[in-house]
Amino acid sequence: MMTNATQTDIGSLYRDHAHWLLGWLRRRLGGDGADAADLVQDTYVRLMVSGRFPAPEQSRAFLARIAKGLMVDMHRRRRLELAYREALAALPEDSAPSAEQRALTLETLARIDQALDELPSKVREAFLCSRFEGLTYSRIAERLGVSHGSVRKYMLRAAQSCLLALSEFEPV
């Protein structure tokens, strides 16, 4: 059962369970605990944003469920950051983007990555071939061994997802 945010004091949720959650995350993440501490924070932020607070007897299960999702997100994000660094390293020195540009690009890439993640892998592949290799749909159809119509359907799904993912974030 959920109670309304106004009836529950996030301060007491924090006091009673933050330390426990930190231990819970540390056991799963290892390392120096900095990630675990960040994720504790993120978990409470997520809880506040949702405005839905658990009933007292379910507090820990509820917090753990949020934290688990955030752990997955964090790993995904880091994977992407590493891939981005490696891709940048392959560029000639003088074309290196500024720090601000890098941050914007990474944010854009993360959004696209997440959008594509929810789609079948052939959609992702078709989209990357089209948008970042410049292949025509006929070439993509050959490469993936699917029909031209399928490629078009894949691209429509990718376009829809990208529209949602990028709609509130449009670098100038």
Partner: protein, 333 residues
């Protein structure tokens, strides 16, 4: 043409005031243009479609913006980054990145706000000014000098994000959307959950900020590095920085001074006063060490910072040296 739009896209269309059939058509056109196989006649048909209806143009603009954002990416970099790594590469990536240690909090707090560009914001205010806005839910928003916010009012939530070093006063008590979802106010280093409240918030940079609650209540969670959560009631203010937070009683008059265009100093050091004043004017404003600890009190009009400097020179043993209008030094007489 494609099947009907999936639910989330229909909601997207509603949220952005787009006609969903037009949005569907715009996506179909975009997918056609991406094929690399379109004919001149397709372009002509598209042009006629585009010019046939204002709703077509709006839908096309939304889709073209998305396509434009994709176009800003370097193809090689995007391709390499977004490629699905093999499981070996994935394990390596996880290991190597344990060292990177990028806090994910900013991503979350900034999520949807993302990395800020004040120019992209929904509401902004020039340096030296204060501006009032009425938000679509009826809340009132006042921005102080050189501030920007972005507003995201979705179906089941409302979110207002502050750009770095921005200051706002927000009154959600007049919100007409009684049944609207919770409202969150995201600062660069903290997140506030606001329930029908009147409050001021300022980001001080470097993970620090202040929030004062004049009416109603709010809950705050800070980001770095020692996270803390606190519930604020009317008449309380909190100052937070990476070392922690402190809650003190709020002076209503002081908290709202800037909304009336007044800089209210109560026994401030001259150096601190000038720092604060310099938020309201372009260029650099500084003082010599020997006058830095002089004490300043009073209410000063923010509209005319040159006049404020003049009055300082009358009240204190200091002289104002204008190297240029943008480089001002306050020195002992």
């Amino acid at each position: 043409m494609s099947d009907a739009l999936p639910g989330p896209l229909r909601q997207y269309a509603d949220r952005h005031g787009l006609d969903s059939a037009s949005l569907q058509a715009a996506l179909d056109w975009q997918v056609l243009f991406w094929s690399g196989e379109q004919q001149a006649a397709d372009r002509e048909r598209w042009r006629r479609w585009l010019n046939a209806d204002a709703e077509h143009r709006q839908a096309w603009d939304a889709v073209a913006r998305m396509a434009g954002t994709l176009g800003t990416l370097s193809p090689q970099v995007a391709r390499r980054t977004l490629e699905r790594p093999s499981s070996v590469g994935r394990r390596r990536a996880l290991g190597a990145l344990a060292a990177v240690g990028v806090g994910s909090m900013l991503m979350l707090a900034g999520a949807r706000g993302g990395f800020w560009q004040k120019a992209m914001a929904d509401y902004r205010c020039a340096r030296g000014e204060q501006q009032r806005f009425r938000l679509e839910d009826g809340s009132s928003l006042i921005l102080n000098t050189a501030s920007a916010v972005s507003v995201d009012f979705g179906q089941d939530r409302r979110r207002i994000s502050l750009a770095p070093e921005s200051e706002v006063a927000l009154d959600t008590r007049s919100s007409t959307l009684k049944k609207a979802g919770p409202l969150s106010l995201a600062l660069p280093a903290a997140l506030l959950n606001v329930q029908g409240a009147w409050l001021t918030a300022r980001d001080l940079g470097h993970g620090a900020g202040t929030v004062g609650v004049l009416a109603g209540g709010a809950q705050l969670v800070t980001a770095y590095p020692r996270q803390a959560a606190v519930t604020l009631n009317a008449g309380q203010q909190v100052h937070f920085d990476p070392d922690g937070l402190s809650v003190t009683p709020l002076s209503r008059q002081r908290a709202l001074a800037w909304t009336r265009g007044v800089l209210q100093a109560d026994r401030w050091r001259l150096a601190d006063f000038l720092d604060e004043l310099s938020r309201y004017r372009d260029g650099l404003l500084y003082c010599d060490d020997e006058v830095a600890d002089l004490i300043v009190s009073g209410a000063y009009p923010l509209k005319d910072t040159d006049y404020v400097l003049e009055s300082l020179a009358r009240a204190l043993p200091v002289a104002i040296h204008y190297r240029t209008p943008w480089l001002v030094r306050v020195a002992a007489v």
